[in-house]
């Protein structure tokens, strides 16, 4: 006898774990399948920065809501999730960037996100390791930091406690029309299939408008008190959001252990996990240009991970017009940790047919489809979205 699930979540990263927990919470018979267990992939590779971003109104709405959900959940998180309300300092190098600081402060205020403008002197007092002569910064106090693999493990434990089943690790070979085929030859039967495979989502659905965007991170030994906030250059917006070019940006995060995570890089077309030493060097030199003494610290590891990037920098959440049994939860690029909880709420609302708490349409995958070309064959919309 084949068991029929209401929802089969494919992928047990932080997004899949959050989706499983939310589906179980609303009473859906939920199963989760992943080839490698909970919290691998980008969940284990990323920084764990819970951050409000405002590239578009839809991005601001999703990150702000999800950040609130994290803050509500924080008291329940186990200590190994290392949740800390560190705050982000968006560092402005010059007057042009200070104008951007003021613009953002007003925008954030209108969205109900409190922030504070620091002038040059206040910034030097807050972070004495920063180079002299910076123009100032925007402090977003409600931004936070956590350790994503531990947070994902917690979300999955909660999902299981609420009745979800974590199936034994098994690679998914195909999914379509309510059937999930596994490497061992068996099949799962599902009312809805949630594709939460991050940058791997295209392995099963090649027509998705997702490209792997490789990133590098470095972690240092423990140097408590070296910096106090997550420090990000305001120029990050320019570099992170230019879709075309490989880029680096200054982005340093103090961990609860006293270690520092040093990022960040963005690279298209690199599909293997090896280190690009030229880009790694550029990334560290960028960090040194803001924190002149960071080169005196000892790094203990460097690694890469893959963001699931979409053309408009918004995730793909919701129904997929090519298959009524699909619900996507991927394409989060660098914001999957932040937006995992809100994504899960949207997914659960979609599956149960309930109204979502924020408008869900901006994240619908259908926005990339040319409806006139959808009709006859699945291969057509592959062309339509690849551009």
């Amino acid at each position: 006898m084949t068991r029929v699930w209401d929802a089969v979540v494919v992928g047990a990263g932080i997004v899949g774990a959050a989706c499983a927990r939310e589906c179980a919470a609303v009473g859906l018979r939920t199963a989760v399948i992943d080839a490698a267990g909970v919290g691998g992939g980008a969940t284990a590779a990323g920084m764990g920065h819970i951050v409000v971003m405002d590239d578009s109104p839809a991005q601001l709405a999703l990150t702000r809501w999800s950040q609130q959900l994290w803050r509500e959940l924080a008291p329940e998180l186990p200590s190994e999730a290392e949740f800390e309300s560190r705050g982000t300092l968006w560092v402005a190098a010059d007057e042009e960037e200070m104008r951007e600081v003021r613009r953002r402060q007003q925008l954030y205020a209108s969205a109900g996100v409190p922030s504070e403008i620091l002038d040059s002197r206040a910034l030097a007092e807050a972070e004495p390791q920063l180079r002299r002569g910076l123009a100032g910064a925007l402090l977003v106090q409600s931004d936070a930091v956590l350790y994503p693999p531990a947070a994902a493990a917690y979300l999955m434990r909660e999902a299981i406690r609420m009745g979800a089943q974590m199936l034994p690790p098994q690679r998914v070979t195909a999914l379509a029309h309510g059937r999930v085929s596994l490497d061992n030859g068996s099949q799962l039967s599902a009312g809805r299939i949630v594709n939460a495979c991050g940058a791997g989502a295209t392995d099963l659905l090649p027509q998705l408008p997702i490209r792997k965007r490789r990133g590098h991170l470095v972690i240092t030994d423990r140097y408590p008190g070296f910096v106090h906030h997550q420090l990000v250059e305001l120029g990050y917006l320019k570099s992170a959001h230019s879709i075309a070019l490989d880029s680096v940006a200054f982005n340093v995060q103090p961990r609860q252990t006293g270690q520092l995570l040093i990022g960040s890089s963005r690279e298209f077309g690199a599909e293997d996990a090896t280190i690009n030493h030229a880009l790694l060097r550029a990334m560290i030199e960028r960090a040194e240009s803001y924190l002149p003494r960071i080169g005196n610290l000892q790094a203990i590891r460097a690694w890469t991970g893959f963001r699931a990037a979409t053309p408009d920098k918004l995730p793909l959440i919701g129904p997929w017009p090519g298959d009524a049994t699909f619900c996507l939860a991927t394409g989060h690029e660098g914001l999957g940790i932040t937006t995992s909880l809100a994504t899960a709420r949207l997914v659960a609302a979609e599956i149960t047919g309930k109204a979502s708490e924020i408008p869900a349409a901006p994240y619908f995958p259908a926005r990339f489809l040319d409806a006139s070309r959808l009709a006859p064959a699945a291969t057509l919309y592959g062309e339509a979205v690849r551009g």
Binding site: D221, R222, Y223, P224, G225, F226, T257, G258, R293, N296, L297, Q298
Partner: protein, 88 residues
Amino acid sequence: MAEPESIALTVDEIVVRVSPGTTVAAAALIAGSHTRLSIAGEPRAPLCGMGICFECRVAINGVPHQRSCQILCAPGMRVTTGRELAIR
């Protein structure tokens, strides 16, 4: 009485005299001290003695995370064990 060629250094403010060629790890042992503290606060001591395990880290003259088994004692050295130090 110490040998004329002995080297004096401090380990956590304890004065230690050693022969030339003595590693800082040995000086820490002579002082009766552990080396680093683990993330959970457990005291650690040299394990491999050849610079691989990183258990022997101490701060030397204010520079944290030095592998004491790979560094020889020098006159007036200040060795600090047990905690990670911020670079100032």
